[in-house]
């Protein structure tokens, strides 16, 4: 459903004062202006623009979830046309890997590595992939998810957000607030938030009131459970701090928003389908049905703001509001005007995800090098002076390692004439499992990209997944390297394939010496590939 134009106009008016001077400029230019604004000495502290190789690897990982082949890297590096970065961005956004990457990202955002008891993983991933391949407006996608009840088998995957949280009302309330409204109001379940003044208990229950009449039918344990709803039931709450135990109640409403008024249906007409044994009741008036519209409506600015902030954080490695689910006056955005601008423009462009990502990718801010100006190794992260190092997700790591070691190429060779992108992708996807088991976040918690546990380093060091990828197979990197004799050619192929950059003179020298001294060249090549794969440079999107 399109955003009401009147509300949009109101949003635009709020923003007009800030935007009036540069409204004609594209968003990416305005991003850069607002990042630099008010920062004394910005020009001297800011990192230079990334090298072509750095940019290529970064944008590939962000938009395709993997790294480019050595040949793609070579082609990009020799390209001298001035708009090659923008063309690369456009090519990646149009490519098939984009939808897969975004499906992986939003799977984690929406489900946080929870189980797949009620909606199978494959169907869910396909749902997300299709949505991002079609570039479905983000607000529409969220409405689809929040209005799904799981009844229609074709639309069931969209109900995963509810169903695989077993529709636990407090959990669903908490996560709607965190994921779509940028605020973790869990503390407000029992009382007004003790530390965050704007998180009110009544707001928590206002959200819960959309859901409190709904339940899983036939029961919460059934794998084929669907959502059902009663026609009555209010939310009641008492602050645990209130000695008088005064009971509060509220109609459904968004945090800080207006209550949704409801007329009592005539007596005897409360249900379209009345409750009975083994019957899924359908009320005449559904509270839950109001939720999707209320969350995404223009008079709920938290929605666009949170969405824009999350996409920004995905690209830049840090939210303007950081962490992304703690938006409140006590934790102000690092760049409030910029956040308003991104939110307004995202809404004005009908929540076009590709458009926003494309604008961010074209900004100088996104294209900064991760190497800061000499001498400063500790710049304040919220100023975006230097590109953040983003640890690869479990999925990026699996795909990038597959590509780097040439397993993806070997798959292509092995599939021969029958090779299709989907067929190759299926083979790579089959290798993700072990990576997820070790590198994915904990179920129900945000993926922090923690990268310091023993099982992770042992997995990379000695584990069979990585070793299996490095072992030579026709078309794989070690296979290709084995056919080369010139040490410089070997070094170049190695570095372009794994680290997406040419080797430095020092590195050429190191590899040459190492190979000269090696008693067994195939082993030496294997372990060289491993060393690059296990390096910090590979582990991070830098």
């Amino acid at each position: 459903m399109p955003t009401p134009p009147r509300a949009l106009a109101a949003l635009a008016a709020i923003f007009a004062t800030a935007a009036v001077s540069s409204a004609a400029k594209p968003l990416h230019a305005r991003i850069d202006r607002l990042i630099a604004a008010g920062h004394a000495g910005y020009e001297t502290q800011v990192a230079p623009v990334s090298t072509d190789a750095e940019f290529l690897r970064r944008v590939y990982l962000d938009f395709a979830g993997t790294i480019p082949t050595a040949d793609e890297t070579r082609a990009f590096l020799v390209d001298t046309t001035p708009d090659k970065r923008t063309r690369l961005v456009d090519r990646l956004l149009a490519g098939p890997a984009y939808a897969r990457r975004m499906a992986q990202v939003f799977d984690v955002v929406l489900m946080e590595r929870r189980g797949d008891g009620k909606v199978p993983r494959a169907a869910w991933e396909e749902f997300l992939r299709t949505a991002f391949a079609e570039n479905r407006p983000y607000d529409g996608l969220v409405r689809e998810i929040l209005s799904a009840d799981g009844v229609d088998p074709k639309a069931r995957p969209a109900a995963k957000f509810y169903l695989d949280r077993d529709f636990e009302p407090n959990l669903v309330t908490r996560d709607i607030a965190r994921v779509f409204l940028g605020r973790n109001i869990q503390c407000a379940q029992c009382h007004d938030h003790p530390l965050v003044e704007s998180y009110k208990q009544a707001d928590y229950y206002g959200l819960l009131a959309f859901l409190n009449r709904s339940f899983l039918f036939p029961n919460a344990n059934a794998p084929n459970a669907v959502l059902a709803e009663k026609a009555d039931g209010e939310v009641n709450f008492v602050s645990v701090f209130d000695k008088a135990k005064k009971q509060g109640t509220t109609l459904p409403h968004m945090p800080g928003g207006k209550a949704i008024s409801e007329a009592a249906p005539p007596k005897g007409k409360e249900y379209k389908v009345a409750p009975a044994a083994n019957v899924r009741p359908v009320p005449a008036y559904s509270r839950r049905e109001q939720l999707a519209r209320a969350v995404t409506a223009a008079d709920n600015p938290a929605f666009a703001r949170t969405a824009a902030n999350r996409l920004w954080a995905l690209m830049l490695g840090r939210g303007i509001v950081n962490p992304v689910d703690l938006d409140h006056p006590g934790n102000p955005p690092s760049h409030p005007e910029l956040l308003d601008l991104l939110a307004t423009e995202f809404a004005a462009h009908k929540f076009d995800v590709k458009w926003l990502l494309r604008e961010i990718a074209q900004s100088k801010t996104y294209q900064r090098s991760s190497e800061g100006p000499a001498g400063d190794t500790d710049p304040p992260p919220e100023r975006y002076l230097v590109a953040h190092l983003k640890p690869l997700t479990a999925e990026q790591l699996a795909y990038a390692a597959s590509q780097a070691t040439g397993q993806t190429d070997a798959d292509r060779v092995a599939l021969g004439k029958t090779a299709t992108e989907a067929g190759i992708d299926a083979r790579v996807a089959a290798r993700i499992g072990p990576f997820r088991a070790v590198f994915a976040g904990q179920p129900g918690a945000p993926d922090t990209g923690a990268i310091t546990t023993l099982d992770q380093s042992l997995f990379l060091k000695f584990g069979p997944s990585v070793r299996g990828m490095i072992a030579p197979r026709p078309g794989s990197l070690t296979d290709r390297l084995g056919k080369l004799t010139d040490p410089n050619a070997i070094t170049d192929e190695l570095f372009l394939s794994v680290l997406t950059r040419p080797a430095t003179a020092d590195e050429r020298k190191d590899v040459t010496e190492l190979l000269k001294a090696a008693p067994d060249r195939p082993t030496a090549l294997n372990e060289l590939v491993w060393a690059l794969l296990a390096s910090a440079e590979f582990r991070f999107n830098h």
Partner: protein, 430 residues
């Protein structure tokens, strides 16, 4: 040997453990440096004094009436008799004959009331010393002690859990805001960590050479890009290397067979022996689970079996630690998520019961033979010196020389290490 070849100077570094034990507050994000304490000079001797913690977790909820606080001859007492111990006046259930001979090393806390009869929440209370709260997860005792007692120079991980066969092994989140670095490494059925052993076909020289090359690459990358994240990544490989070099520690078959016999040749015996090896090798915290005490029916038969398995290795462990001079530096806690109902149900079972139960402590900082707290004649209520999970948590930390009233600082916000509403049980501390 230095871990990184560049100089360490970022704000996340160089906060010493001694600084923590002293009066300075410390950031929770800080990686605790060693200050040369654990690793260097006369390291072995100092190492002996390095405090450690072993938690033996009797999963499912052990019966206090069949162990530490028997009530023979009452309506709730059950069929078993009591036996005298090495502590005059202290009697325990007859199912613990070998433990009874160690009682002079053990302090009993008999007035525990944790007021939570659900397994998961009960375990959380016992392991974090806090009641579950919306909006914040507190780190478990293992993560807390690994962080505060351990050092970065330690060879082995600071926090290891030995899981019973088939027991779920997740737990990195147990470290909460202290970070997964302090979360437990799990040894399922006492087996070494996955991928610990070098694969066939990778020789030692080849492994060393590739490591050298990897480090060179990292140094170049980190020269202008170093961050806490790159440091942690680099360090994790160092740790993996150190653990790999000590993989014998995980192998209980390296023990003298007579020692193994003393612990008993069953899973739990093997797991406790492994725990001792790990503690001896410098692991700060080890948790060993023994399953399963959730005896809703046939409570008495089950406790004969379970405690029959528990008694021998537990007694052997205390004896063994004492012989090796490790007991005075190792705190050994026997806990559950709760106890069991005094009332015997119609299936001869006992149900979940958190209102009046008992915990046993021994070793570092603990007054052996002490008994604190009392329950009434048939064990249905605490009548003297009631304590909860918070008091116990304070006590564990104090026993190993830490100050539980200090704060962690996640996101620069002070969070008391132990629940400020509780305090240590001084009566059982030396």
């Amino acid at each position: 040997m230095p871990t990184c070849q560049y100089s360490c100077g970022s704000r996340d570094h160089r906060l010493s453990r001694r600084g923590f034990l002293g009066s300075t507050a410390v950031g929770a994000a800080a990686a605790l440096g060693t200050g040369g304490f654990a690793s260097s000079v006369a390291g072995r001797e100092l190492g002996k004094m390095q405090k450690r913690v072993l938690v033996i977790f009797l999963s499912g909820g052990v019966s206090q009436l069949e162990t530490w606080d028997p009530k023979p001859g009452t309506d709730t007492g059950g069929p078993f008799a009591t036996i005298p111990t090495t502590v005059p006046g202290t009697r325990v259930c007859e199912l613990l004959p070998l433990t009874a001979r160690q009682m002079h090393r053990i302090a009993l806390v008999r007035g525990v009331n944790t007021a939570e009869d659900e397994h998961g929440r009960g375990a959380t209370i016992m392991l974090t010393g806090r009641r579950p709260e919306a909006g914040i997860e507190y780190p478990h005792i293992g993560a807390v002690t690994a962080k505060l007692l351990g050092s970065d120079a330690q060879t082995l991980p600071g926090n290891i859990q030995v899981l019973a066969r088939g027991e779920g092994g997740f737990g990195k989140q147990d470290a909460a805001f202290l970070g997964p670095k302090y979360g437990p490494v799990s040894l399922g059925d006492g087996k070494p960590p996955a991928d610990l052993l070098r694969p066939a076909g990778l020789t030692d020289p080849a492994d060393r050479q590739r490591e050298e090359f990897r480090k060179k690459l990292n140094d170049r990358f980190a020269k202008s890009r170093r961050s806490a994240a790159t440091d942690a990544y680099t360090e994790s490989f160092e740790q993996a290397e150190r653990v790999f070099r000590r993989s014998d520690v995980f192998d209980v078959t390296k023990e003298d067979t007579r020692v193994a016999d003393r612990y008993g040749r069953h899973d739990f015996g093997r797991h406790l022996l492994l725990a001792r090896r790990l503690l001896e090798a410098g692991v700060t915290y080890v948790k060993v689970s023994h399953s399963n005490y959730d005896t809703h029916h046939e409570n008495f038969d089950f406790h004969i079996e379970q405690l029959g398995e528990f008694d021998r290795p537990y007694a052997a462990l205390l004896e063994d630690l004492a012989e090796r001079g490790m007991l005075e530096s190792t705190l050994v806690v026997v806990m559950s998520e709760f106890g069991r109902t005094p009332k015997i149900n119609h299936l001869y079972g006992r149900d979940h019961w958190s209102r009046a139960w008992a915990v046993a402590l021994a070793g570092a900082g603990v007054k052996g033979g002490a008994v604190v707290g009392k329950t009434n004649a048939n064990g249905t209520a605490v009548t003297d010196r009631e304590v909860n999970g918070g008091h116990l948590f304070h006590t564990y930390l104090r026993a190993v020389g830490l100050d539980p009233t200090k704060n962690f600082y996640p996101n620069d916000r002070p969070v008391p290490i132990a629940d400020p509403k509780a305090a240590a049980i001084d009566e059982i501390l030396v």
